[in-house]
């Protein structure tokens, strides 16, 4: 545990000593602020339907998805690829820490950074709360949804980072996998036949977020993202182990 913690805190140090972290944070805030303003402007129009603003922030717009699909690979691309490229992986994997520990520690650090990314959006909630009555349930479940999907996306990114030496390649691979996973759910609308439709609906992340944003915590959605998270972390560990035998 102490070793994992040491690895995680080293990783966080690496995050916050690189300019990339600040670029991502700034871009994220700027972008989200703009989207929030758009949503406010839209809802202020008397012709628009009454909706909960935070629900729109949580996956209600394509911006949310675009940003998540782009940003998560950027967060994770460095994690293992850079260690492999620079050779520090050799030091790490010849220390008395297991591959699983390394993967978990890196994953934890990436998640902390992800939470850090989202934390400032609580300001929007505070702003809304000061002007209107807020239904706290959906807000909480919305953040839960963001966390659950974040875990899954980060696990995919960590996995591709374990595969290659080149950070950019790791990011592109993660982006490709994520886009396939995301769009697989969207195909639901084109499918015919209840079985296929049902299966695709299970994979539809947009719908998942829609539910979370409405205050529905569906255990199927949680199982979906958590089980896939586990799978990708397992694959990342195996990728590290396989590197030794080749």
């Amino acid at each position: 545990m102490r070793k994992t913690l040491a690895l995680t805190s080293r990783e966080l140090l690496a995050y916050f000593s690189s300019p990339l972290a600040y670029v991502v944070l700034t871009a994220f805030l700027f972008f989200n602020g703009y989207v929030f303003w758009l949503i406010m402007a839209f809802l202020n129009d008397p012709r628009s339907q009454a909706m909960q603003p935070m629900k729109l922030v949580f996956g209600g717009t394509i911006f949310f998805w675009l940003f998540l699909l782009f940003v998560v690979p950027v967060i994770t691309m460095r994690l293992l690829a850079e260690e492999r490229r620079s050779g520090t992986l050799e030091v790490l994997l010849t220390s008395p820490v297991s591959e699983a520990q390394v993967v978990l520690a890196k994953f934890a650090a990436a998640f902390v950074f992800y939470v850090f990314l989202w934390a400032p959006t609580l300001i929007y909630v505070a702003m809304l709360a000061s002007k209107a009555k807020i239904d706290w349930g959906p807000v909480a479940s919305g953040y839960l949804g963001i966390a659950a999907l974040g875990l899954l996306f980060l696990a995919v990114g960590l996995f591709t980072s374990a595969l290659v030496k080149n950070q950019i390649l790791a990011a592109i691979l993660a982006f490709a996998i994520l886009v396939v996973m995301f769009s697989l759910g969207l195909v639901e609308n084109l499918a015919s036949g209840t079985a296929v439709k049902g299966a695709l609906s299970y994979l539809n992340m947009w719908e998942h977020m829609d539910d979370y944003g409405r205050g529905i915590v569906d255990s199927r959605h949680l199982v979906y993202s958590l089980s896939l998270t586990g799978l990708f972390l397992f694959l990342a560990t195996k990728a590290l182990e396989a590197g030794k035998g080749k």
Binding site: R2, K3, L5, A6, L7, R10, L13, A14, S17, S18, S86, G87, T88, L89, E90, V91, L92, L93, T94, S95, P96, V97, S98, K244, G245, K246
Partner: protein, 354 residues
Amino acid sequence: MIEVQGLTKRFVDRTAVSDVSFFVPEGEVLGFLGPNGAGKTTTMRMITGFLTPTEGTVRVGGIELNRDSLALRGKIGYLPENVALYPEMRVAEYLHFRAEVEGVARGEVRARLDEVVERTMLGGVRRQLIGTLSKGYRQRVGLAGAMIHKPPVLILDEPTVGLDPRQIVKIRELITQLGRDHTVILSTHILPEVEQVCRRVLIIDAGKIVADGSPEQLRAGLAGAAELHVQLEAPAAEAQEALAGLTGATEVRAEDDGRFTVAVEGGEDLRRAVFSLAVERRWVLLELTQTTPSLEDVFLRLTTRDSAAAVAGEEDAGAEPGGNPGEGSNGGSVDGPGTVPGDGTNPAPEVTHA
């Protein structure tokens, strides 16, 4: 301490290490010598657990790699070839991190940190970012990291590559010191380094061990490689015959001006005999030098896969007194066989043979 049995590593396209076995007793400094691409790094990576052997076993302090890889990794301090460090960390931060990862007890971290910083002379750069350090300092940080958990075994892969001569001397002194309380495997292709630091040498070539022994043994083992250079004022034919008649002389080559080169077998020192011969026949002795083969000769002979003629040619060039700067410590000297040239006490000339 370290027991390697039938270690083999096959990559998809080639066999990097094949059937390597050796044993390193506790407290020994073993020099692991070989040309580039001979399989040194691969072997070390297998011992440290970074690569899984295709065949064979590694045991360190009684722990088998395949059984309990984590426990074995804890016993080894490893400095990989290119000393990979995290540039964004400060020296003390990095060492603290290494201490935690290597499992140094919480209460001891501080004391260990102070000790390794002192031993590797990093006191002045504790607060400095690793990315801003020079290569020599980084090498020392890597070394400090490798010994932070007091491992009984240190494995150092080319620890002096890319350093300037002064730094090389310092790192070698440090390794010699470390050899007193650690078992060390040191890989290198710098020959004087091995002569100074190691009591035993393992030469590996094309993935196989081709020689194993102390530097003296390896040199002595090369029959006929010692050479006696004599210059006499004497009838050439008669002198040649007389020299060939000495015990231990295997071949006499006559050169101009009454110079002779005598190939000497297995550790004989012919200087006394030649002197007596000259006195007896009333020849004037102008020059008398016996050279032992350098480790370089041994190395070249064992690892050169050209024709025998080419090997002989290399030896000629190498044995020319003063003709090859690499000879430095023993070329042209009157050291008898078995003397270690530059036995660590005198900093031998910093000539790299890379």
